[in-house]
């Protein structure tokens, strides 16, 4: 018996979250219960019902594209864990 259903393991991979074996077991069982609970939505006939993305009837909110003040480059970078020459540093991507 694996610690977590295969489809949930796939979601963990997509979400890029490292879990310990113990977390996998606990979250796996809790998420199984939650998914079982939300299956109650299948009781409803939603044929022909439009989906609601959000509750206000606003679409395509536009404003003039005018240059304006923004926070400085330095302020925008100051919370980064690793920087050099005004750039974010990440582990090597290309061998």
């Amino acid at each position: 018996m694996p610690n977590m259903r295969e489809d949930l393991q796939h979601a963990v991979k997509l979400a890029r979250i490292e879990l310990t074996a113990e977390e996998e077991a606990r979250l796996g069982s809790q998420l199984g219960d939650i998914l079982k609970y939300v299956d109650k939505l299948n009781e409803l006939d939603v044929e022909g019902v439009e989906p609601t993305a959000h509750a206000v009837p606003l679409t395509n909110v536009l404003r003039e594209d005018e240059p304006r003040e923004s926070i400085s480059h330095e302020a925008a970078m100051r919370n980064a864990p690793k920087t050099a020459n005004g750039l974010f540093i990440v582990p090597k991507i290309v061998e």
Binding site: R16, L41, A55, L58
Partner: protein, 484 residues
């Protein structure tokens, strides 16, 4: 004891020259020093910065300035950006993040003269109903420090209930302002979706999140809403509706107001003391001339399932930004992907992981239609229930929570049970309504009980009018916890 005052009481004393903002601010700081060790409402606060703002407010007043919140100390939930101050969302993943700008609500409070201070505790990334999910330890209910204060804006409610500030701001995605306000005996207002700018609010579920006030009375909620509401070009979901004078709505006259009681809200698990207290509150509204009718919200039983699909789906997308590159903590890895995994594995708490994984799953290929799209369709049905109800009534009344505050640790191993306690508050966010919780009694154990009123989109004036009329006839909101 200036820290015990409401906004309107303090403003009167400041205007009369009986008190200074420095007195009031110092009084809050002393109170925090005296009681917050037991309550853990504040994650951090900067006394020197608060007093400097207070002095500036006093100088402005001496120079003849009048502003709606001049010199009033307001505490901020740790999910709202305040320039130059920490912003952690009660999570470890943000490391020692220090906000490089002010949220729009922060700027509006400053423009109104407020002393903006403190980072108050919450469930990590606003995910939770108890403030037990804070990476910095749970906040405690001042009415019984063994009990949870509610959440996610638990610190905001505790700070107000324990008189550590004059008022506070929280955020509400599925009840996170109203529920802790109810459990701590405060007033909590969730404005209509689109009423208050979210620029500078760290996003949890973007189609549901809204910032709002937690206060000691309804008048203060009206005053604070008037300050923070309004159009903002930096939030494209902000609705360009004019902002009325909300305090002008507090006429005390609710004759002819129609209030609906949803028959589906007689749920299993509704505590008898909560039921009695809210029924008495509704009877009081009726006595004052409101007309009470039964209504039906037939899709009520589907609201929690709908919410936990939509909110987690949106959260999984919003929280993708915490990857260890641009801000916050990082755990090193051999590749960017390994670094992301290690950082998110170490930085997020368990509830946040649970919700991100669930949200990722319901959006993933092969499951999207079955879960996410179906939930969006059921959301339409839930919203339609409310729009139909509002054809017949002006407001909807219910308990805010099915039970008073529970003990810390009681539900923390069973997330589904925790989710089910959100039954009365969640639909408001799904349907884009406004809602308020006002104190309406106490349990035999001395724990506060809240009455929830829900209003139509942009129906805050009616909502506040009814809540205020009820408050005028009762003294629940004047009670204060007596803890050692």
């Amino acid at each position: 004891m200036p820290h015990t005052l409401t906004i309107s009481q303090l403003t009167d004393k400041l205007t009369q020259g009986e008190l200074t903002s420095r007195d009031a601010t110092q009084s809050c700081l002393d109170r925090i020093a005296a009681v917050d060790g037991q309550l853990n409402a504040f994650l951090s606060h900067d006394p020197a910065d608060a007093l400097a703002q207070a002095d500036a407010a006093d100088a402005a007043r001496a120079a003849g300035e009048t502003k709606p919140l001049l010199g009033v100390p307001i505490a901020m939930k740790d999910v709202i950006a305040v320039n130059g101050h920490p912003l952690n969302c009660a999570s470890k993943i943000l490391g020692d993040f220090n906000s490089p700008y002010d949220a729009t609500v922060t700027q509006k409070l400053r423009d109104a003269g407020a002393v903006v201070f403190g980072r108050v505790n919450m469930d990590e990334f606003a995910m939770g109903s108890s403030t037990e999910n804070s990476a910095f330890g749970p906040a405690r209910n001042p009415w019984d420090t063994d009990c949870i204060p509610g959440g996610s804006s638990g610190g905001s409610a505790v700070a107000v209930a324990a008189d550590e500030c004059i008022a506070s701001l929280g955020s509400d995605t599925g009840g996170s302002i109203r529920q802790p306000a109810a459990l701590c005996g405060c007033v909590g207002l969730k404005p209509t979706y689109g009423r208050v700018s979210r620029y500078g609010l760290v996003a949890f579920a973007s189609s549901l999140d809204q910032i709002g006030p937690i206060t000691k009375d309804v008048r203060d909620a009206a005053t604070l809403l008037g300050v923070i509401a309004g159009e903002d070009k930096r939030d494209s979901t902000n609705v360009p509706e004019p902002v009325p004078d909300y305090t002008a709505a507090l006429t005390g006259d609710i004759k002819g107001l129609k209030i609906g009681l949803p028959k589906e809200y007689q749920v299993e698990g509704l505590d008898p003391e909560v039921k009695t207290a809210t029924e008495s509150a509704v009877a009081e509204l009726e006595k004052q001339g409101a007309e009470v009718v039964e209504i039906s919200l037939p899709h009520t039983e589907y609201a929690i399932a709908t919410y936990y699909i939509i909110a987690t789906a949106e959260a999984s997308a919003n929280l993708a930004r915490f990857e260890g590159v641009r801000y916050g903590a990082r755990v090193d890895g051999a590749s960017p992907e390994q670094m992301n995994r290690a950082t998110r594995g170490a930085g997020f708490g368990e509830e946040v992981k649970r919700r991100i994984i669930l949200g990722t799953h319901v959006l993933s290929s092969g499951y999207y239609d079955a879960y996410y799209l179906r939930a969006q369709k059921v959301r339409t049905l839930i919203r339609q229930d409310f729009l139909n109800a509002f054809e017949q009534v002006d407001l909807i009344a219910s308990p805010t929570t099915p039970t008073p505050a529970f003990k810390i640790g009681e539900k923390s191993d069973d997330p589904l049970q925790m989710y089910l306690s959100d039954i009365f508050t969640i639909s408001c966010n799904l349907a884009g309504l406004c809602g308020i919780s006002v104190p309406c009694g106490f349990s035999n154990d001395g724990l506060p009980i809240g009455l929830q009123l829900l209003g139509q989109p942009f129906g805050e004036p009616d909502l506040l009018r009814a809540a205020h009329a009820y408050e005028q006839a009762t003294d629940w909101h004047t009670k204060r916890p007596n803890f050692n």
